[in-house]
Subunit: 333 residues, 2 copies
């Protein structure tokens, strides 16, 4: 990977990654190890939440894993000690589940974040915290692309709890001096995402259907636009944030910054897989009410402040994703 | 009280008031009874949170009281049944406590609100919910007066959990059709606020000090501006919101809409009480970091949409407040 990140900036650094066995957390942990950082992964392996020990197979001997709940304050108080960075990625991330039962999101995403921040405040106030929220915090955008100053009108409990977590981390930065960077991620895809259910990343689900030679359902008219970011670019942005003092105290959008619609996505997935097909399908009424419409991110702020920008175009990202799952299918299907 | 509210609109209506033994909740409950509504108060009487059975002494035989925690889902599921209105006021409302221990706010204000909304969704989706948040949801205003479209950048856990609660109620409105009105209250004062500690409303605390013939500390240079709303005006706004279909789905600021600084306030309090004095005092460093600066609300939206506006000027409101506590001192000191 190339970037504006100073080479060697993370060499020897100590990093805690909550949710480190999950999709983005595991890719991040691998990236940190490659940069010479000492990584401790915190994960509770809640069934269905996306954690998979195979995700970190390639660096298994070079990371520590601490199995625990982020709401376990005693454990977190120990784990933050001595860390230079706390990448806080653990959470309930399923919008649909959050609308069936709001309590896990409130408890894990809001209270869990408070536990992490209280641990830093009282046991390691010099730790720098990098948090990954969601573009869902914006809700239905009033205009496109969406910059960080756009209103936040989240349309679901998952998205609301991400916003609350972000605000908590921001308050600890402003009031208690625990420095942090707040990222709002667009649709992220790539290797190491769970492939067992369709409730997380839509791109990976499309990849699974295509590799199964099945039909990809494209909802509505298929023209809804999204911003699809390859996970390596996402990881690189997080490493840039860790490596640069200019990042602290900021909210940054992460995305590719240009739109792709779902028909284009489905076509690209079928092309990358060499199998599968797609067809239009109707929204459920409930899903339609919660559909936030077109979204793509304005990524000017992180580009200008940190020099980060996405490198991996959709076709290339999909090719790498397909290749990963072809080789490791038995660990994900 | 005079207002644009249709006379008789609440006659015979059934209303649940969470936090109904507290400051605003009790004034609201009395207002509802005066309008002919059937009122059920939910209150847990958490020590120090401001509930006081004496608050509803004047209507004790005309309201039902249900002692329980709003987080008690089984209880709330019963209590919402048959209610036309759910006024949701229960919560942890102490900024300073929320910065010492974030968990009660997250649990009561966020999860508790989800319990109330889940109860409505599953057991009375036709209930209309009126929620009282805080001007603290805005944080440090970028410009004055502050309208409902201003960015929300809360600076404390209490304020963050109010914002999250508001967003949850809004999501249940948009996704599940449980209609609601979201109010953001400025500094509210008047009869029935607790007078035992200084951590809630500053105006009432000044009144207590003056009635005790003590010295009122005015922090900083005393020129910070706030918007002080008399509780009867606040109650009238809530009744207007209940009585008007135009209100549903809106966020409204409540305030007088013009600024008063703390020296002016202190002078007015001393004048109303005929005792006490004031002097400037320094901020603590932590308090200074969390001080959101000048605030007064733009109340154009509720004025234009519902015809509500505040009627009680500061001197008059303080005179009534002083009179109430002179007569009922033994129940509050």
């Amino acid at each position: 990977m190339t970037s504006a990140r100073p080479q060697g900036a993370l060499e020897g650094a100590r990093a805690l990654v909550t949710g480190g066995l999950g999709f983005i957390g595991s890719n991040l942990s691998i990236g940190l190890v490659e940069q010479g950082a000492h990584v401790t992964i915190v994960d509770e392996m809640i069934a269905g939440y996306g954690a998979n020990p195979f995700n970190i197979e390639s660096v298994r001997d070079r990371v520590s894993i601490n199995y625990c709940d982020i709401r376990d304050a005693n454990a977190m108080n120990q784990l933050v000690v001595g860390q230079d960075f706390v990448f806080h990625l653990a959470g309930q991330v399923d919008h649909i589940l959050s609308m069936k039962d709001p309590y896990p999101d409130i408890d894990i995403n809001v209270k869990g974040t408070a536990v992490v921040m209280e641990a830093c405040r009282h046991h390691n106030p010099l730790a720098r915290v990098i948090y990954t929220g969601t573009r869902g915090q914006y809700g239905k955008p009033a205009s496109l692309p969406v910059s960080e100053t756009a209103p936040t009108q989240p349309l679901g409990i998952y998205e609301i709890t991400n916003l609350a977590a972000e605000k908590i981390i921001e308050a600890y930065h402003l009031v208690f001096g625990v420095r942090s960077v707040l990222l709002r991620l667009t649709n992220t895809y790539g290797p190491r995402a769970q492939m067992q259910h369709s409730r997380y990343g839509v791109v990976n689900w499309f990849v699974r259907l295509a590799l199964d030679d099945a039909t990809i359902p494209v909802y509505g008219d298929g023209l809804i636009q999204r911003d699809f970011l390859y996970v390596d670019d996402c990881v690189e942005a997080m490493l840039c944030c860790a490596a640069s003092e200019r990042a602290w105290g900021n909210v940054f959008n992460l995305g590719v910054g240009y739109p792709t619609n779902f028909i284009e996505l489905a076509k690209a997935v079928v092309r990358a897989a060499g199998s599968g097909r797609w067809e239009l399908a109707p929204f459920s009424p409930e899903r339609k009410a919660q559909e936030p419409g077109d979204f793509y991110a304005d990524i000017t702020k992180i580009r200008e402040l940190l020099g980060w920008e996405p490198r991996v175009r959709l076709d290339e990202g999909l090719a790498r994703t397909v290749e990963f799952y072809r080789q490791n299918r038995q660990h994900y299907w």
